[in-house]
Amino acid sequence: MSARNRELLALVPASLLLTAGFAAVFVERDDVLSDVSLTYGAIFLGLCLVAHLVIRFTLPDADPYLFPLAATLACFGLVMIYRIDETLAREQAQWFVVGLVLFGATIVAVRDITVLERYRYVIATASIILLLLPRLPGIGQQVNGAYLGVKLGPIAFQPAEFAKIGIVVFLSSYLRDTRQLLVSAGRRIGPVVLPPLKHLGPMLVVWGLAMLLLVFIRDLGSSLMFFGAFLALLYVATNRLSFVLFGLGLFAAGGWFFASTVGHVQNRIDAWRDPFDPELYDRVGGSYQIAQSLFAQADGGLFGQGFAQSILQIPGTDSQLLPAAHTDLIYAVIVNELGLVGAVGVLVVYLLIVERAMKTSIIASDSFSKLLAAGLGAVFALQVFVIVGGVTKVIPLTGVTLPLISYGGSSILANFVLLALLLAVSDKARRRTA
């Protein structure tokens, strides 16, 4: 079976999932087995088919599983958000359509990914500006202490979502040129090879940027995501574990310093260490959210409470039992309603997407493609780790979206662009091996 026919076939179960999910929510809500769910499933399948045709004509050899896996995630997102809030789901569906359009446009525009290399400094500068935008007076927005949003008139977006792609593109292109020098011109001290000072500079700049993010944006999660992607790329480019350990040490030192000085980050860490402390639980901006998230997940059990069964609001009042259920805590809602089995399913979908990215990196023939695929895979995986880790109390909870599931236009759009780039790389790589 050809790659494209596999992709086409895989879109069918994705649409079935959407139909089943909506049907279950309708049954719970209105007590009827509504055929509207079939209509929604058909529309979803139709939209995916259009995107599939764009891939078929422009990137015929691209990886067949990436797009259906992403569609599965989007279907989880649409069902869960619909179950939380109908108006939000309508907006999310609109963003999904815009995302697919952008996905197609990106595929057509960067079919040849070497174009990106030509504009690497433009991309790098734009990404850094995007990251700093939320702190500009007038357009920046503070949400729960972190500066992640930008509001320009009626348009609000999260620039970090787009910046992560730009930074990976730049670093891939930069490391492709300097990786030989980083390794060969290094000074050897015992078993550790230190890169020459001249080339250590850019590494320190990236570290400084990650620290700046921590101070400016006050978000440990995005900072970890960016720096982690950088270290992953550095490891792939140089095969030197010492660089990674050195970088982790730097990050830990910087993170510890700022965590103890920036109040907002300190609060998050306190809430993480002891979420059930009554004093922290009742405090504004305390551990209420993370504690409720843990309760919800425990309540899910093995197979979950069922679609639309999760209690999001305290009955009879307006106060929220699960704050930010449609964004930060959507994973907790999924665990509550579909249980451990459903949650593992979601995580396996992410795992497979990352596996496809790494596979693409392995078969790619030139350094830039290898680094780009590995970097995009790493940044995607780290984003999932940061938010799922936060919700499950592995690391402090921060406001990063769950890619392609969480409510949010920027997140959907940016992740579709990321996916389009991965497909473009894999098309080039697989055409060579085929």
Binding site: A10, P13, L17, L69, T72, G342, K359, I363, S367
Partner: protein, 161 residues
């Protein structure tokens, strides 16, 4: 009150999800095991091992045919390919195997040497320098497929098909 239809739909949802995941995983695993060509790393001469391990070394006589493909250049047709064989000198002079007509090229400008499975490029003290991927070449560097070599206004792409 939990509707039976809803319970059925939930389990149906989970079953479809897992069947889908098993299908993708099985194909992905077969893909990982089968198509990836794991080339045995030959014992390369000391100092020439690709230090970063990003590229697997190809043993000699593996059908590796390194070429420089002209991207643009003075007096050269774009798309023209020069076989490198076991090595070649690029330059304007008569002793160069790859003859350039670029006014910025020196007589013997740069040298390509094939050592084991990799091709190394080295500047031969030229006046205007050799650029590898837009950066001035300093010392010998191994070439990878897709690398761009520029001398004056002449640019090549290295291919190893």
């Amino acid at each position: 009150m939990v509707e039976p239809a809803s319970v059925l739909l939930k389990y149906g949802f989970l079953i479809v999800l897992y069947l889908f995941l098993v299908w993708v995983s099985r194909n992905a695993l077969r893909d990982l095991a089968g198509k990836t060509v794991s080339r045995p790393a030959p014992a390369a001469p000391a100092g020439l091992v690709d230090a970063t391990g990003l590229h697997s070394l190809t043993p000699e006589g593996d059908g590796l045919e390194p070429q420089l493909v002209v991207e643009r250049g003075v007096g050269l047709q774009p798309g023209m390919a020069f076989d490198i064989g076991d090595g070649a000198v690029l330059g304007r002079g008569d002793s160069a195997e790859i003859r350039l007509q670029d006014p910025f090229a020196s007589g013997r400008h740069a040298r390509l040497i094939r050592q084991g499975g990799i091709v190394v490029i080295e500047d031969l003290g030229s006046t205007n320098g050799t650029y590898l991927n837009g950066e001035l070449l300093q010392g010998p560097q191994p070439l990878h497929a897709g690398d761009r070599v520029r001398i004056g206004d002449t640019e090549f792409v290295y291919e190893d098909r």
